[in-house]
């Protein structure tokens, strides 16, 4: 589903050259739930941005669902993001002036051919999946952190993406709420077969996923299957 070949990412200013990623090679097959761990500044978020087509590698090749992302134009990248990828962020990134339902509907605003009624139906279905059917008319400020993150997950789901990229989705939540969010992601992965790549600092959460990749100083230092996930899958 996601293939990265010889990915390099260098941030260059007038005086400093910072290597964010160096020689990263990864293949994430469809339906896999991968977690990425590493200390702050090791390049996890940069890697996620590159996978999410929000950033370009300085060198190397990115393939999403078998399509090599070469010299795609901005419009084509946007379409690909909209159709194939859902994002979940640590700080939720909800628009405070829009209701829960309107926030969830956002991705379909950028998709052609989806009627308002269909958008509404899909948004309600997505909210039902995350257990927030009763909060459709609420505003983000009226929700707890866990509920906000569930709204963000519903927003990521509405477009029925093949990939969900989650950047520390439980980072701002207490352990109970973190568990709730993790369970939703695991459920999605199991029932819908959605490929999920999650950046996390939480060892416990990481061990609930199928595969754990560790990064250090922009380089991939380990890549291993986890037992816990295998147990859950059985």
């Amino acid at each position: 589903m996601i293939t990265l070949k010889n990915i390099e990412k260098v941030y260059q200013t007038k005086t400093i050259e910072t290597v964010a990623l160096h020689n990263v090679n990864l293949h994430i097959p469809q339906g896999e739930f991968v977690s990425i761990m590493g200390p702050s500044g090791c390049g996890k978020s940069t890697l996620l941005n590159i996978m999410g087509l929000l950033d370009e590698p300085t060198d190397g090749l990115v393939e999403i669902a078998g399509t090599p992302i070469g010299r795609y134009k901005d419009k084509e990248l946007a379409q690909l993001r909209n159709q194939k990828i859902g994002f979940v962020f640590q700080s939720y990134h909800l628009i405070n002036d829009l209701s829960v339902l309107d926030n969830v509907e956002l991705p379909l605003l950028y998709r052609n051919g989806v009627s308002a009624a269909e958008t509404r139906r899909l948004a309600l279905t997505a909210l039902e999946k995350v257990g927030l059917s009763a909060r459709t008319k609420h505003y983000p400020s009226q929700l707890s952190g866990g509920q906000r993150q569930r709204v963000a997950i519903a927003r990521a789901l509405i477009g029925q993406p093949e990939i969900i990229l989650a950047d520390e989705p439980t980072g701002n939540l207490d352990s109970v709420m973190g568990e709730e969010i993790m369970n939703i992601l695991l459920q999605l992965n199991k029932t819908d077969g959605t490929t999920i790549v999650m950046v996390t600092h939480d060892e416990n959460m990481a061990h609930k996923t199928e595969r754990l990749i560790r990064f250090f100083d922009g380089q991939q230092v380990s890549d291993a299957k986890t037992n816990a996930y295998e147990f859950q899958k059985v």
Binding site: L54, F87, F89, S91, H93, I95
Partner: protein, 392 residues
């Protein structure tokens, strides 16, 4: 997307309230100024109903109180004027000659209708001097000496108000217990006040020197042949001065008088235009600043939208769209207010003037806001999504 933008702006109405208010007031001032401009331009483009080129106005001030002597001298001057080869035609006029700073009006009553109309007392040759075209009937002349009624020529505006679609020529309008005006002709247009003034009900009454031997008029309109200038003016005044010793005489061209009148009309327009321009400039600066600030405040939202599938073009269009929606809210209120002017017929101005001004004001505000949003929106569209998301 449009529904989304309206919802977004409506939900942010508190933070956008000042901006909407600013747009509302800017629209109102613009509407007022544009109404004035449209009113003036429309009037300017309408026919005056006469030709003022090569027409001079001679103003005479006698030095004696002897009515009969003054009258005798006046007739001599008229005779002398008609004797000049350089002069085509001459006519006495009341002080409200075309483009003069003087007005004379009279109430005209016909049946139940009473209309206040401008009255121009002129001599028979006035139609030749000013080249006034009579569209119905005729101009008055010596043939009217035998009439029992005082002949008048009215303009179309007065005709409409007094007689509507009825035939006007031949109608009698009571002047006093013993005398009637009789309409002998109708002109389509006559706007003597200024090129920027609207057509007003007007009529021409006849100066008949033979009828009243003591009456005196001290203004004469003279149509000179093309090419006559200062040299002839000097020669003419010198000759008149020889006839009317001690009289003060002043000659002004109608062209010069027209220019003076036009200046009078333009000055308030220019002053209002400057005030309006200054206001628009301030609104533009305010809008630009607010939009710039909004965009920097909404970096993470921009990043989010990009992540969810918005292209940079869509982000650009969204910000432009938001400003247009914002302007629409401000304008809706403004238009609701402005539309009362034509509906209530405020200032007796044609509705068309208000509607044109309203249309131009709306278009100008939209152009203004789009112009102000252009650069900040481009900046928003250029924001790198990964960076914007990271800023949070």
């Amino acid at each position: 997307m449009i529904r989304h933008l309206f919802k977004l702006i409506w939900n942010r109405k508190r933070s956008n309230f000042l901006l909407m208010t600013e747009i509302f007031f800017c629209f109102l001032v613009l509407f007022a100024v544009l109404s004035l401009v449209v009113y003036n331009v429309r009037n300017y483009n309408k026919p005056l109903g006469f030709e003022h080129e090569h027409v001079w106005l001679l103003t005479m001030r006698p030095d004696t109180d002897s009515t009969s002597l003054n009258r005798q001298t006046l007739e001599q001057i008229l005779q002398r004027a008609k004797g000049f080869q350089e002069i085509e035609s001459v006519a006495l006029t009341s002080s409200n000659a075309p483009f003069a700073f003087s007005q004379m009006s009279n109430n005209i009553t016909y049946g139940q209708k009473k209309v206040e109309a401008n009255q121009y007392e002129v001599q028979d040759d006035f139609d030749m001097v000013m080249r006034v075209k009579v569209s119905k009937g005729r101009w008055f002349g010596p043939a009217d000496n035998a009439s029992h009624h005082d002949p008048i020529v009215i303009n179309q505006a007065l005709k409409q108000q007094l007689f509507g679609e009825e035939e006007a020529v031949g109608k009698l309008i009571p002047l006093n217990d013993s005398t009637n005006y009789q309409v002998v002709g109708v002109t389509d247009y006559f706007r003597a006040g200024s090129e920027f003034e609207a057509e007003q009900p007007s009529f021409f009454s006849r100066i008949n020197l033979q009828e009243d031997p003591n009456a005196f008029w001290n203004e004469v309109l003279i149509r000179v042949k093309p090419g006559m200038g200062v040299a002839f003016e000097e020669k003419m005044v010198k000759e008149f001065a020889g006839t009317a010793k001690g009289w003060a005489m002043e000659v002004a061209t109608l062209e010069k008088m027209r220019q003076n009148k036009a200046k009078m009309a333009k000055v308030p327009l220019i002053a209002l235009g400057i005030i309006c321009g200054f206001l628009i400039f301030n609104v533009a600066l305010g809008l630009f600043g607010v939009l710039w600030y909004n965009i920097s405040r909404r970096n993470s939202e921009i990043g989010l939208r990009r992540a969810l599938g918005a292209s940079s073009g869509q982000v650009y269009r969204q910000f432009i769209g938001e400003v247009l929606v914002l302007a629409t809210f401000g304008l809706l209120l403004g238009v609701a207010f402005a539309v009362q002017f034509p509906l209530l017929q405020v200032f007796q101005v044609e509705s068309g003037v208000y509607f044109i001004a309203l249309g131009i004001a709306v278009a100008t505000i939209y152009l203004l806001v789009v112009g102000c949003a252009f650069y900040p929106s481009r900046q928003a569209a250029a924001i790198h999504p990964a960076m914007a998301l990271h800023e949070e």
